[in-house]
């Protein structure tokens, strides 16, 4: 039963990822990416990471993708990749390079992962405790990072009012 779900979700994830790369319209790509994020959320659930599955749906598929779609709607899509391609010859190498990289990672990482531990890592309670004890400093730095990103995005997107 778990195998069937895994194979279905994995196949959907790969298909949506390829769709993101292949489709010329960025809006279609964004919808494919949303599908891919949902697939990964299901995989998180199967790995007993319930908190991350929820955060994935809310933060990624909810907030970040809305930002993406907003930007795509704001900048006229479809016209971006017209015109002559100056790097066409170099681009022919892209897919072999990516395939070689993926194969390398597959060989190295697939060998290092052993069988699953008996005990699941624990739910929200464990994560919350770790986050506010061992990982308290990175957590606080994260808040600083988000503040910096907020100010930076505002400064970049603001219209210049000077003459």
């Amino acid at each position: 039963m778990e195998w069937i779900v895994f194979l279905l979700v994995a196949a959907t994830a790969v298909v949506t990822a390829v769709g993101l790369v292949v489709r010329p319209n960025p809006l279609h790509g964004a919808l494919f990416l949303v599908g891919n994020l949902f697939c990964v959320a299901v995989l998180f659930l199967m790995l007993r990471a319930e908190f991350l599955a929820l955060a994935q749906v809310i933060v990624y598929a909810g907030a970040i993708m809305v930002l993406f779609i907003f930007a795509i709607m704001l900048l006229i899509p479809g016209r971006a990749e017209s015109g002559p391609d100056a790097l066409a010859r170099a681009r022919r190498l892209a897919v072999p390079v990516a395939a070689a990289l993926g194969l390398t990672v597959l060989l190295v990482a697939g060998r290092t992962a052993g069988p699953a531990a008996q005990a699941a890592p624990g739910g929200v309670e464990t994560i919350g405790r770790l986050l506010f004890t061992d990982y308290l400093f990175p957590f606080e730095v994260t808040s600083l990072l988000l503040l910096a990103a907020l100010v930076g995005a505002l400064t970049l997107a603001k219209r210049r009012t000077s003459p």
């Binding site: 778990e2 195998w3 895994f6 994830a13 790969v14 993101l20 960025p26 790509g29 990416l33 891919n36 994020l37 995989l43 998180f44 199967m46 790995l47 990471a49 991350l52 955060a55 994935q56 933060v59 990624y60 970040i64 930002l67 993406f68 930007a71 900048l75 899509p77 971006a80 990749e81 391609d85 100056a86 790097l87 892209a94 897919v95 990516a98 990289l101 993926g102 990672v105 990482a109 697939g110 060998r111 992962a113 069988p115 699953a116 531990a117 008996q118 005990a119 699941a120 890592p121 624990g122 994560i127 986050l131 990175p138 990072l145 988000l146 990103a149 930076g152 995005a153 970049l156 997107a157």
Partner: protein
């Protein structure tokens, strides 16, 4: 019968490679950004799978931080793309050789 974590790691390697191909092939910076998100997501999946191998929640904590950094990165990156589009009225990454020496 449960699926061993090695299969999740393999899937994450495949998704990462597709993301790399997207970054290299496409010319629209928005699509390149989305391919980067795909790669981050694949790395997250590998983190959670390895956390499941060791029975520790630390992998999930790192995924939490990766999500936060990704949110910040998207906000700043999209603001930069919008600013470039406003200044030059086209967003082709090959045209953006402004800072090339």
């Amino acid at each position: 019968m449960s699926v061993p974590p090695a299969y999740y790691v393999g899937l994450s390697a495949i998704l990462f490679a597709i993301g790399v191909a997207g970054v290299l092939v496409r010319r629209n910076p928005l699509v390149i950004f989305m391919a980067i998100e795909l790669m981050l997501n694949a790395a997250n999946l590998a983190f959670v799978a390895f956390g499941r191998v060791h029975g520790a929640a630390d992998g999930q904590i790192i995924v939490f931080f990766v999500m936060t950094v990704a949110a910040a990165e998207v906000a700043v990156g999209l603001a930069i793309i919008v600013a470039i589009f406003r200044a030059r009225h086209r967003i082709n990454v090959d045209d953006l050789a402004l800072m090339r020496w």
